[in-house]
C-alpha cells in the first residue's frame, strides 16, 4: 500500500479507534462479534442497558453531520452513558478558539471518550496525542471513517455470513472519500475483493499499490458483483471541474432502475447516506429489496455501541493486569479457570 493509505501511524485496537489502518482481521471480527450482542439490545422493548452508567461521551463535530452524530449519541444513550455535544457552528470556534483549547474544554467537562469529526485529515490522531480520553474518529477529512466501515462490514456479514470471496464495487468519488478508504482496508482485511469504479478525475492521484482493481465503466461489471457500494457525489465537484455535470455522472455511474435490474438477484446495494436521489442512486434502486441502506443505519447504532463499550466498559485494560473476566457467580474473584 502507498503512504497515503498508511499514514498517520497504525491504530489497532487500543484505547482509541482512529482508523481501520493497522487493525487486523481479528481486531475487526472482535468488534463485529460484539456487535451481535448490541444489535439484540436494540430489538428489546426497552432498548437500553446500564453498562456505561456514569460515563460521559462527548461529541465534537467540527464539520456538519446529522446522522453520524445522532447514531453515536443514540449508541451512548442505549448504554446509559451521558452525552455532551459540541458543534462548530454554535461554539467559540467562531470566536477564534483553537482546536486544542476546544478539546481541553470538552475534556474538562469530565468526558471519558471523545468522538471527533473534522475536515482535516489526521485530526483524531492529533487529538488522541493531546488528551487522556479515548478518542473515536468519526471522519477526518479525506482520510478515514472507521465506524462507517465497521457498520458496512457488519451489514454485509449479516446478509451473507462472511465477506470472504465477495466481489464488492465501490463506485464514485473515491478521491474525496474517507468512507472509501476505510472500506477498502476493512473489506480486503475480511477477505473480499474490492473494485473501484469511477472516472479518472475522481480517483486519488497515487492509487498504485492499493489492494484494488480499477474500472472506468460500471455496466460491464454489473452481473459479476456481490455488492455495489455507492459513494455520495457532491455538487462542489462540478465547480472543481472534476465532472462535467451531475446528469452526465448519473448517466455513466448512477445506479439507475435499469442497472439495478441487471444485477444478480442476491447482490446487495449499499450507500453511506445521505443519498442524492437521481445522481449516484435512483429512487428505484434505493427502494429495491436488494438495497440494505436502512439496515446500514440501524446497524450503525449497534456497531457504535460495540465500539463505545469496547473502549470504555469491557475493561480490556484490566486483562493486562491479569484480572479474571467475569463469568458467573460460581468462582471467587481472581480465581483461575
Amino acid at each position: 500500500m502507498t503512504a497515503t493509505l498508511q499514514s498517520p501511524p497504525a491504530s489497532g485496537l487500543g484505547r482509541h479507534l482512529l482508523g481501520i489502518d493497522g487493525m487486523s482481521r481479528s481486531d475487526l471480527e472482535e468488534i463485529l462479534d460484539l456487535t451481535d450482542t448490541f444489535a439484540e439490545i436494540g430489538r428489546r422493548p426497552i432498548p437500553k442497558v446500564p453498562a456505561l452508567r456514569g460515563r460521559t461521551v462527548a461529541t465534537a463535530f467540527f464539520e456538519n453531520s446529522t446522522r453520524t452524530r445522532m447514531s453515536f449519541e443514540t449508541a451512548a444513550r442505549r448504554l446509559s452513558a451521558d452525552t455532551v455535544a459540541f458543534s462548530a457552528g454554535s461554539s467559540s470556534l467562531s470566536k477564534g478558539e483553537s482546536l486544542r483549547d476546544t478539546v481541553e474544554v470538552v475534556a474538562s467537562y469530565g468526558a471519558d471518550l471523545l468522538v471527533v469529526r473534522h475536515a482535516m485529515a489526521g485530526t483524531a490522531h492529533r487529538v488522541a496525542d493531546w488528551t487522556d480520553l479515548s478518542v473515536v474518529n468519526a471522519g477526518d477529512g479525506c482520510h478515514e471513517h472507521p465506524t462507517q466501515a465497521l457498520l458496512d462490514c457488519y451489514t454485509l456479514r449479516e446478509q451473507r455470513g462472511s465477506l470472504d470471496g465477495m466481489r464488492i464495487a465501490i463506485v464514485g468519488d473515491v478521491r474525496h472519500s474517507r468512507v472509501a478508504r476505510s472500506n477498502i482496508l476493512a473489506f480486503t482485511a475480511l477477505g473480499a475483493e474490492v473494485v473501484l469504479v469511477a472516472p479518472a478525475t475522481l480517483l486519488p492521484p497515487a492509487i498504485d499499490g492499493w489492494p484494488v482493481t480499477v474500472f472506468h465503466e460500471l455496466d460491464p461489471l454489473l452481473t459479476d458483483l456481490d455488492a455495489v457500494y455507492l459513494l455520495r457525489m457532491q455538487q462542489e465537484r462540478i465547480t472543481e471541474g472534476l465532472i462535467p455535470s451531475l446528469r452526465e455522472y448519473a448517466n455513466d455511474f448512477g445506479l439507475s432502475a435499469d442497472r439495478v435490474a441487471r444485477m444478480r438477484s442476491d447482490a446487495l446495494v449499499l450507500h453511506p447516506g445521505p443519498t442524492n436521489r437521481g445522481v449516484e442512486i435512483s429512487a428505484e434502486a434505493a427502494a429495491d429489496p436488494r438495497s440494505v441502506i436502512l439496515d446500514q443505519v440501524v446497524n450503525g447504532v449497534s456497531v457504535r455501541m460495540a465500539v463505545l463499550f469496547r473502549l470504555l466498559g469491557s475493561g480490556q485494560q484490566l486483562v493486562a493486569a491479569d484480572i479474571e473476566p467475569v463469568g458467573d457467580d460460581a468462582r471467587p474473584e481472581g480465581a483461575d479457570r
Binding site: P45, G315, V326, D328
Partner: protein, 172 residues
C-alpha cells in the same frame, strides 16, 4: 487444583425432578410459566428443568436465555465480555418467570438478571431455581428452588457439569 465430587449425574437428575415437582406445586401448574436460563451455566440446567416439567405435567413451558453481562455492577472493575445470546421466547407481562442458574454465590448475577428482565416486561412474579446454593450472599437474594445446599469457603470453586457437581480447592 483438587476436586471432590459432590453430586453425581444421577443425584442431579433426582434434584431436578424434585425441583420440577416443587415448581408445579407452587404455581398450581405450568400454564403461565416461562423458564429463563442464565448464560452460560444456567442454560443446560434450565433445559433439563423444562424437559422434566414436560414429562411430569405434559406442558412444555417456553424456554429463554439471558446474558446479564451488560447489567453487572462490576463493569469497569473487572473485564466484562458479553458473549452469549439473550433470547426470550415470549412477552413477559403477567407471566411467572423461573430464573435458572447453576450456582448461587454472591447474588450479584441474580440482581443483574432482575434488572434485565424488567426491561422486557412486568412479570407477575419472578422465582429463582439453582442447582447449587454455595452461600456467601452479598445481597438480600434467596433461591426458591435449590438442588443442593453446599456450604463452601469463599476460595473454593464449584463446577456444575452434565456429569456431576465438583467442589475444587485452589492451591496457593
Amino acid at each position: 487444583m483438587s476436586h471432590a465430587r459432590i453430586m453425581t449425574a444421577d443425584d442431579m437428575g433426582r434434584a431436578i425432578r424434585r425441583m420440577a415437582h416443587e415448581v408445579i406445586e407452587r404455581n398450581h401448574g405450568l400454564s403461565e410459566l416461562v423458564v429463563i436460563g442464565l448464560q452460560t451455566g444456567g442454560v443446560p440446567v434450565a433445559e433439563r428443568l423444562v424437559e422434566t416439567l414436560e414429562e411430569i405435567d405434559g406442558i412444555r413451558p417456553p424456554l429463554g436465555t439471558l446474558d446479564v453481562a451488560l447489567h453487572r455492577d462490576d463493569i469497569g472493575i473487572r473485564p466484562v465480555v458479553p458473549e452469549a445470546a439473550t433470547e426470550l421466547p415470549t412477552d413477559l407481562d403477567s407471566r411467572i418467570v423461573v430464573l435458572v442458574d447453576d450456582v448461587l454465590f454472591t447474588g450479584r448475577t441474580i440482581r443483574a438478571a432482575l434488572d434485565a428482565i424488567c426491561d422486557f416486561g412486568r412479570p407477575r412474579s419472578i422465582q429463582l431455581a439453582v442447582m447449587v446454593d454455595r452461600g456467601h450472599r452479598e445481597l438480600p437474594i434467596r433461591p426458591d428452588f435449590v438442588g443442593k445446599n453446599l456450604p463452601t469457603r469463599r476460595d473454593e470453586v464449584v463446577d456444575v457439569h452434565i456429569t456431576g457437581v465438583d467442589l475444587g480447592v485452589m492451591e496457593k
